[in-house]
Amino acid sequence: MRYVDEFRAVDSVQRLAEEIRKTTIQHWSVMEVCGGQTHAIMRYGLQELLPEEITLLHGPGCPVCVTPQSYIDKAIEIALLPDVVFCTFGDMLRVPSGDSDLAQAKARGGDVRVVYSPVDAVEVARVNPDKDVVFFAVGFETTAPANALAVRRAKDEGLTNFSLLVSQVLVPPALLALLSQPDCRIDAFLAAGHVCAVAGLDAYHAIAEKHHTPIVATGFEPADILRGVLHAVRQLEAGEAFVENSYERAVAQQGNKTAQALMMEIFEIAPKEWRGMGVIPASGLALNAAHADFDAERRFGAIGAAPRRDCGCISGAILQGVKRPPDCPRFATSCTPDNPIGVTMASMEGACSAYYQYREGGSGHER
């Protein structure tokens, strides 16, 4: 078992697609929450394998994309300070804010470094005791354990020159916010499997029940995604709505208890602004009182409101599944991954970027 090829096998994909066709009677809109799933859907052309009654809506699950502009502004401001080393995932470098981004801050002399893990940023702090090392802690429940571990290790080592600029978001409150919108078209969710692997499934039961919406924890390979769709459609056609685990090899009902314990040792649940969706109650993580010393906003000033910049980008509507990338007149014309106007094109995992790479004649085809 290698856990990859087996779940990409053409035979399995075809069986699942056939089973979905046999099961589907009515029209349904199913939202995949995670940008990684959007990517796989485009890469393997999965929408085309589905009956026309089924529409896949792309959700807000790209952490780069949902990080509000005010945080990007603050990141650039901190990165340009003397004696600061600003560490970030590579995905954040090209996220535009006005006419700047972190890559330009680096070109203008800011010490911006790309790291693979927040734990690597702790190492940067260790070997640069005369510098203030800041890590841009963006992400969902999947990266929160790594960020918590970084703080814990910095604390254990007595490092006082390490801090996080935190933009951590939580998925369940965002699903609830999407379902509560008056024009909501979502009939079922494919929940992001790796978020569920960390946080477990408990938080979803109340949502599925309140809005009578199936929520199916789903993996990332083609067979996983189709199996998630199949399970969602079976529930929908039967008039049922419950939380189902279709990613059994990676997700335990209770999630990863060790990771959850460390996350709650370091962070607390807080209101959080999402790009395109505004402030959602209890949808983010902030450093708790015992770890406030590791908060970059304490050291460098709180994040303010971003100036309104209207560049015609509709990424806010795309992140909510209301619009699709080709609906944007700038898509693949003035907006491309090399010259992104909006965040959903700038991020590798954004929906615009996925559509661009795998569009007719695009570079990324693999079907």
Partner: protein
């Protein structure tokens, strides 16, 4: 940062919050923390996010899923 693919644990060193492993992602070998996946042993497959293993893949569960898919079209009606 989120395109997490499974990797196989090659060896393990350190303990507690410094427990780490070399992990083989289809031929690309990277260091990952095992601090939050204490049950993981050498040879296990893990999902790593931002350098930290967040879950271990369960081989029996994976096989059950594959068997279920293989059996789908053996049936005329949707099983339920």
């Amino acid at each position: 940062m989120c395109l997490a693919i499974p990797g196989r644990v090659l060896d393990i060193s350190g303990a507690a919050y410094s427990r780490s492993a070399r992990v083989d992602f289809g031929g690309v070998i990277k260091e990952a923390s095992l601090a939050l996946a204490p049950e993981v042993q050498i040879g296990d497959y893990v999902i790593v996010h931002a350098g930290v293993a967040i879950t271990r893949l369960d081989e029996e569960a994976a096989q059950r899923t594959l068997d279920e898919i293989a059996n789908l079209t053996a049936l005329d009606q949707a099983p339920d």
